[in-house]
């Protein structure tokens, strides 16, 4: 017990020292004058918001957006995705304030404020959902890498090495900079969309008419729900708040965190639109295309339509999406477990002192990578289970967020303003209804 307490205390001191250095970097930049220093300050404070939003365009998200374009072309989903931007921003901005004001992660607040039952419920849901989501990330990595002739075993192994290595070997600041560099690869879909040379008049008309090819059908509603589910996921709430805390952001940095989140939201939506425009222009309605195409078939059709360079760029984007989401989700798992179980919980900690912190993230990554390699593994069933878990978990996670942000004892003067409660309340209410309907359609596919 004494040894564990001493090790914990040393770990906390290590973490505080490194975080203090990170904060000193920000303080120094804040004191200096000049445009260049302002730019460097903005770059130093950016990170959690951009990372969470770009990691949201994960392998599963890329596949969802691509299939949306294949199924519905350039229509309803373009303005719909833009509409999701303020929804995502409002939700994620709340985690910035919560983390910066309390200095605690989401899992820690739920466990500490609402007790062991809800704490354990949230932790188990998050860890299970994260683990299953990681399977889709490694699927994306292996499918994308296969375009370059890399066997699944090697790309899978490479993905594990990168994801686990980044988690274990890098302290927070470097981890964040490396992740942001990888995240920049998400933008590859934008020049691809431009290469598709879409009819911009058709794109503009989509925003004016919100046209739904084929009308409102059960499949249409299913795709709406899938797009919504891929834009706002439970891990995002936990990840951004933990990231804000580990980065050492304080009340003074809330505005910067909000801007960081807004920039991330913008990039996320632009990339999502680019993917829909790309497949909506080149694959929708073309010979060989169908609504039930898997990602391998989609890559083949893209290759036939826009040439090998386009196919390789799309595949590269898919690999990047899997890697960046893998990095974010493993960190989210480790942070949440450490917070809930009151372990030292920071990427600034060395492995030998905080192996319990790193272990959940590492185990989940290795298990997910292993599952992908199992012949005839029920990947469809696993993906279904992720959707079901998210359906049950997301409204709960959102409700806890709302309750905590109205808790005067922990938020002080930074509690939600009335308009924020109205906006968040509408979003939570909408999510409960939509997630409920989504859960029904997943469990009873013929209900609509």
């Amino acid at each position: 017990m004494l040894i564990n307490a001493s090790t914990n205390q040393m770990a906390v001191v290590d973490d505080a020292f490194v975080r203090a250095r990170d904060q000193e970097r920000v303080v120094n930049l804040r004191e200096r004058r000049g445009l260049w220093c302002r730019v460097l300050l903005a770059i130093a404070l950016a990170g959690p918001g951009i990372l969470v939003m770009i990691a949201d365009n994960d392998a599963g998200g890329v596949i969802t957006y691509a299939q949306t374009g294949v199924s519905y072309g350039l229509g309803f989903y373009l303005p719909f995705l833009v509409l999701l931007a303020p929804v995502a921003y409002i939700v994620q901005e709340m985690t910035v304030r919560l983390g910066a004001v309390t200095g605690r992660g989401h899992a820690e607040l739920i466990w500490g404020r609402y007790g062991k039952f809800w704490g354990a419920f949230s932790l188990v849901d998050l860890v299970v959902a994260n683990g299953l989501t990681l399977v889709t990330e490694f699927i994306g990595i292996t499918v994308g890498s296969s375009v370059f002739g890399v066997p699944a075993l090697w790309s899978d192994l490479g993905g594990v090495v990168i994801v686990c290595g980044v988690l274990v070997l890098l302290k927070y600041y470097t981890w964040e900079r490396v992740a942001l560099t990888i995240a920049a690869g998400n933008l590859v879909f934008v020049p691809l969309a431009l290469m598709a040379q879409p009819h911009w008049s058709v794109v503009a008309r989509a925003f004016g008419t919100w046209a739904i090819p084929g009308g409102i059908t059960p499949v249409f509603l299913y795709v709406v729900l899938a797009n919504l589910g891929t834009t706002i996921a439970p891990w995002m709430l936990f990840f951004q708040q933990s990231s804000v805390v580990d980065k050492g952001l304080t009340v003074r940095d809330i505005r910067a965190g909000q801007i960081d989140t807004a920039v991330g939201t913008g990039v996320m939506v632009i990339v999502a639109l680019a993917i829909v425009v790309l497949t909506g222009t080149w694959v929708y309605g073309s010979p060989g295309s169908s609504q039930n195409m898997d990602i391998g078939q989609l890559l083949t059709v893209l290759g036939n339509r826009i040439g090998p360079l386009g196919e390789k760029l799309f595949a590269l984007g898919l690999v990047e999406a899997g890697v960046i989401a893998g990095i974010a989700i493993t960190a989210s798992t480790s942070w949440a477990t450490g917070e809930a179980l009151n372990w030292p919980k920071s990427l600034n900690l060395p492995l030998r002192r905080a192996w319990r912190f790193y272990l959940p993230g590492l185990v989940s990554a290795v298990m997910a990578a292993a599952i992908v390699l199992i012949p005839r593994a029920p990947l469809g069933f696993l993906n279904l289970t992720v959707q079901v878990v998210a359906t049950i978990f997301m409204p709960a996670a959102m409700l806890f967020l709302l309750l905590l942000l109205n808790d005067g004892e922990i938020m002080g003067s930074h509690v939600n303003k009335p308009w924020q409660n109205w906006a968040a309340g509408l979003i939570v209410g909408g999510l409960v209804v939509i997630n409920g309907v989504y859960g029904l359609t997943v469990v009873f596919p013929h209900i609509l």
Binding site: Q23, R104, G115, R252, V443
Partner: protein, 54 residues
């Protein structure tokens, strides 16, 4: 600790332990609504899986 850090983050240091609250009033209603939602969804999931979903 560096004085600049203390100025920037006066709350740096060990955080006070969180106090578990017992939900009252509308918060208690929210928690009951959540329990009902989760229970209903779990029942639907069990029914759906027992019927064999694709």
């Amino acid at each position: 600790m560096n004085q600049k850090i203390l100025q920037a983050a006066p709350e740096t240091g060990a955080l006070a332990p969180l106090v578990t609250v017992k939900p009252r009033g509308w918060v208690a209603l929210v928690f009951w609504g959540l329990r009902i939602y989760i229970a209903v969804m779990l029942v639907l999931v069990v029914i759906g899986f027992s019927r064999g979903i694709r």
